[in-house]
Symmetry: D2
Subunit: 293 residues, 4 copies
Amino acid sequence: MAKLGFVGLGVMGSRMVKRLLDAGHEVTGYNRTRSKAEWLVKAGMKWADTPAAAARAGEITLSMVTNTEALKAVTEGPEGILAGLSAGKIYVDMSTVSPAASRQLAAQVATKGARMLDAPVSGSVSTLEEGKLSIMAGGERDAFERARPVLEAIGPKVTYVGGNGLAVTMKIATNLSLATQMLAFSEGVLLAEKSGIARETAVEVLLNSVMASPMIKYRGPFVLNMPGEAWFDVNMMQKDLLLALELGRQLDVPLPTTAVTNEMLTTARGMGLAKQDFAVLFEALARMSGVKK
Amino acid sequence: MAKLGFVGLGVMGSRMVKRLLDAGHEVTGYNRTRSKAEWLVKAGMKWADTPAAAARAGEITLSMVTNTEALKAVTEGPEGILAGLSAGKIYVDMSTVSPAASRQLAAQVATKGARMLDAPVSGSVSTLEEGKLSIMAGGERDAFERARPVLEAIGPKVTYVGGNGLAVTMKIATNLSLATQMLAFSEGVLLAEKSGIARETAVEVLLNSVMASPMIKYRGPFVLNMPGEAWFDVNMMQKDLLLALELGRQLDVPLPTTAVTNEMLTTARGMGLAKQDFAVLFEALARMSGVKK
Amino acid sequence: MAKLGFVGLGVMGSRMVKRLLDAGHEVTGYNRTRSKAEWLVKAGMKWADTPAAAARAGEITLSMVTNTEALKAVTEGPEGILAGLSAGKIYVDMSTVSPAASRQLAAQVATKGARMLDAPVSGSVSTLEEGKLSIMAGGERDAFERARPVLEAIGPKVTYVGGNGLAVTMKIATNLSLATQMLAFSEGVLLAEKSGIARETAVEVLLNSVMASPMIKYRGPFVLNMPGEAWFDVNMMQKDLLLALELGRQLDVPLPTTAVTNEMLTTARGMGLAKQDFAVLFEALARMSGVKK
Amino acid sequence: MAKLGFVGLGVMGSRMVKRLLDAGHEVTGYNRTRSKAEWLVKAGMKWADTPAAAARAGEITLSMVTNTEALKAVTEGPEGILAGLSAGKIYVDMSTVSPAASRQLAAQVATKGARMLDAPVSGSVSTLEEGKLSIMAGGERDAFERARPVLEAIGPKVTYVGGNGLAVTMKIATNLSLATQMLAFSEGVLLAEKSGIARETAVEVLLNSVMASPMIKYRGPFVLNMPGEAWFDVNMMQKDLLLALELGRQLDVPLPTTAVTNEMLTTARGMGLAKQDFAVLFEALARMSGVKK
């Protein structure tokens, strides 16, 4: 079992730590707000007062934050993760940030004699709790091999995709499908509904069909009842699509469905639906079609 | 157990009959080419010389043919299914035809005192053989209740969606998602590949992610090795999308992803790929992106 | 000067006849409602009681009706144009119908020993009155040469494009641009407006720019004040786009902007704007963007 | 007549200076390469050794450079335009840069007690030489009124659109139409050609139709013969579309045709056509359609 540091004990991060503790690892964790982490301390996690302290405690240190800005906040400065890293250590960032930002951080980590992996996840809290989370990893192969058992304790599906930054690239390549799938699903439901089929029935049939991805399985029912709080809102999804569209332009890859879906997310924003889960694409399409709530 | 007629013993139809025989039903079957049905006769199926004969033998008669023209060929004329129907009988067509054509046939069936259901399936041969086929049914509720046990022997997932023609509508609403999912998947794979991730790895990661619908699970690997024979080719898929787009216009439902995907199917045709499985959308996109085979 | 028959004295047709009379031609005209043609009779036009009578009176007979159904009504039957045609005569249809329907009619005309041209126009009533109408012609070359002076009296720009049906094809290829130009114009106006530029100013600048086609010159101001009556409504424009999309599929030509614009016309219909001039695409886009009237 | 400074004597800038000299203005000009400006010196222009010197000489100073980077190079530093500006002077930038960059520069100009206008042009060299150039201007109204006679000597069409940055916004809103118009035109030409109409004929008919904007009039013939050198290449056009798409997202304006056209520009890049005039969109579409050169 390994000595681990962990920075970022939010909804996802805290549950990851729980799984690591359950697997027998020794985890020293840091979070901006300590109160949210009390239950983990009770479950055996050691507390670190700074990201640097967590990194000093761990042979392998993991982080899970919301975006590039948050990542800078926990890595830079005298109390940051970089300050706690030293030769031979491994740092694994599981956040979704731009491939360029991830590569830049990996270069900084290397100057400490440590090595970094980018290891974003595909799936939600419920996927994680069901033990079905999928993790992609990018970085040096042998660094990956050392970190693999730890990632498998979280995952369990772990795939090595290549050098630094390629795992976040792979994450972006995955997420572009999600919004498009939701929009195509919405087109089908609306077509069925306007033909005279009850919306509930249309959703049920589609969820039983070969088009029902795990994402559609849990998000499809949102067209019947939107969740009180967004799991992943329109703005968050559009940030991922913009990363994909930017990459597409750099690499000369046309992205026809992504571009069209992105304009529909803008439509949702224009209609005042930016803060809702991106399943609200159905509502935007329904309004364009003249369907009143 | 029921006395059943069955018309159309192709790849799907023959395997449906096998399941019905296995469930203990008495089946009288007809096919244009008898030789293809010999294995079913050996398995206990009775042979009918005409569609009308099959319909006369069955309390419930089912058909499974490729398109509207083929459906006319087996239903009309002195040897057709209509000629074999009489008061109290039920006729279930499982083919994918236009909602209008299906409704018209249902009206003809009604003049015989019989009742019709449209009951297209979602899934492929492998889905059927694994006993995971999903069936939608449209028509009168009590006719559906009488036919339900038979459909469940094929299915097993059976959903009643409403009046005549609504099940084929639901089928169309399902299929529009499939081509779009395949194209979005292709965008993701190509983006990953041009970023430096091996195509095999990109496919593997996507198949482990929450975007992997059952369709993507079996068709995604085609971007690595296209099948010798198309499961569902570009032309067949485009026929379904055209039915969707036509319906969308009639019902004032904008279908942004469907329209864009349809133009990509046309692109595949322009590139000479019409007869290949619609997974060839990946190849069309790759050529647009300058990727040589 | 030639003896001419003319069938269909609506808004466009009647003004065409006026130009032909002004050019010194002898015109025998027919219209379903005679009262609307009185001013032409006063201007020197002879009246025909049936389309056949008009065709009998003319060496060259022209027709200008709204669609394929109206064309059948004036060409078929004992009182139709076909009944009045005989060897050596020329029949010119200026309506916009499908290429296939036009070719079929040309074949019927040929059985009479006469020859047909399809000669749709590009432009509106105002273009016609300003003497700037553009006419495309399809059919046999020498039949075209005989009819050319007559068409130039209407035009004056006349272009021979090839065999029967190719001129209506060319018309469809022209019209697909119009809706897309209007939508792109709307995107520009809305972007400017939401940036803080007055809508009037944005329209003025665009009308002075290199993007201002003649169509944009007269239709662009509609985004400030929609006309009381549609010049060409959403439904009419969508019919032309559907002819284009159908042709694109038959000939394997991807039509990305046409497909996207078509879905926006459907959106306009969904919002209850079907009967308005297709310049209402701006209004549809503005609603998607959250702009209230 | 006014004392003017002018920075950037490229293809457009030099011809603007010529028009200003012809109108009787006193112009002091600067260019990175002096040799290119000799003909203007012979025509009466005074030479400045630095941008600052040109700005010191002029009551009103104008600049015309290729992009944001070039603009920084001529405005910043001890030899830049900003160094030469002082209270009461006016600075007019005619380049196309991002609205944000333009506003930032205007703020720097204000700290000198001077005022700035952004005044991009719509049109090409030939439009300029024909005396048909259209100029948009953004900034304070009275600064605009002082500069107006000078701009009209270049223009002659000059439109005040509002505060700083709004004229470049308007330029972006104009340019998004151009690429889309070119693509829609290409769809029409290709549809006609595959129907059997000669490409030359299709182009001729479209250039005579109501869809023929000034841009289509000069760029449409490029589908017959691409120019040896691009007037405005795929990369340059895509930069403008990206500015539009970015603005659309910020302001919640869906841009369906712009997004689709942008992916087609990426396709052109994928096919190796990035350095060609953006009329090469036709070639990209033709390849998707299976048309060989």
